[in-house]
């Protein structure tokens, strides 16, 4: 029995006279999405091409970025926002490669959010016509949920991961635009079939594009560079 009005119907949806219903229908991630929208407008205004690089830990994101920086540095200013739980290791590698880096240590946090990117942008103050990579925390689950304001999301997987990865982690594949299949130099040693992997990935997201490469040997990297250059009039 309701303690206040004595009624027995606990499914009634009228409020008691001292209570009021407020209808909200507010997306809980709206604050993140608003900030992401602001980041996106900032990038558009400054003509900064921003890529959100996501993956499992160890797929080779940083190595891909090191090579990419080496290629573009003669004619383009590059920036990287690094996300890791701890250490400055990746930011150091990026700076040695020739780009400006900011490291965000998330501690127990499992993803970067739009607010962290916004703060980093204030420090980096990227130039017009530059390219900015966000190297997200190595995690195929949580970063999928958080829009950072990027132009596109690039998922790096390695041939040492399974062909069924897209089916097991659909959220990440659904929200990405390009999949880089890295470590192609290891193909003779693993049971990975790229066709099967891509078939699974297309089941989850039929808009996905794919590039196979080896950041270690440099094979296939030109396709990635061409893809970047084709993204916008940069």
């Amino acid at each position: 029995m309701c303690e206040t009005c004595g009624c027995d119907n606990h499914n009634h949806d009228h409020a008691h006279s001292h209570e009021k219903v407020i209808n909200l229908n507010i997306d809980i991630l709206s604050q993140n999405n608003i900030t992401a929208g602001m980041n996106r407008r900032f990038f558009e205004g400054r003509k900064v091409l921003c890529m959100n690089m996501v993956s499992s830990p160890g797929s080779g994101k940083t190595t891909v970025l090191e090579r990419t920086i080496g290629h573009f540095i003669p004619f383009r200013k590059l920036y990287v926002i690094e996300g890791d739980q701890q250490t400055l290791i990746d930011a150091d590698r990026i700076e040695k490669a020739g780009a400006s880096a900011i490291q965000i240590n998330t501690g127990s946090g499992c993803h970067l959010d739009a607010q962290m990117v916004e703060s980093a942008l204030k420090k980096l103050d990227p130039q017009t016509d530059s390219i900015l990579f966000i190297e997200n925390v190595g995690n195929l689950i949580c970063p999928a949920m958080f829009d950072l304001g990027e132009y596109k999301r690039v998922l790096v997987i390695s041939v040492t991961e399974g062909e069924d990865k897209p089916l097991k982690y659909p959220n990440m594949f659904e929200t990405s635009h390009l999949v880089i299949i890295n470590k192609s130099d290891l193909l003779p040693h693993v049971d990975f079939r790229a066709e099967e992997f891509m078939k699974n990935a297309r089941q989850v997201n039929h808009h996905l594009e794919f590039i196979e490469l080896s950041a270690k040997t440099g094979e296939g990297m030109n396709a990635w560079y061409d893809w970047l250059l084709s993204q916008k009039n940069i």
């Binding site: 209570e19 809980i28 659904e174």
Partner: protein, 115 residues
Amino acid sequence: MHEFSLAGEVIKLARHEAEKHKSMAVSEITIEVGNFSGVEAEAFESVLGLLSEGSILEKARLNILRLKGKGICAACNKEFEMDQRMDTCPECQSYPSEIKGGNEFRVVSLLIEEE
């Protein structure tokens, strides 16, 4: 994993709305969690319960509504309910060509105590 920060966002939202209406307490909060929103509903509910202590949601009933998605089969066009993102058509086991809903994560309403 990040259910803590999400619960924190909900408490902030509830406090903001309650204060707008000059209320000091929320007696019920209704939240929709889609099955493939990326939010684990059970974990989220426990964490929200824990974090609510000492907050505006301290006395609130947590009404978490889990929502399924609706898929349209790529092969036979049948509409079917989806519990998981990679569910297949119950008739022909094909994947859906289109998915509607299932990724909601929103505060639907609050029941606030008025002065």
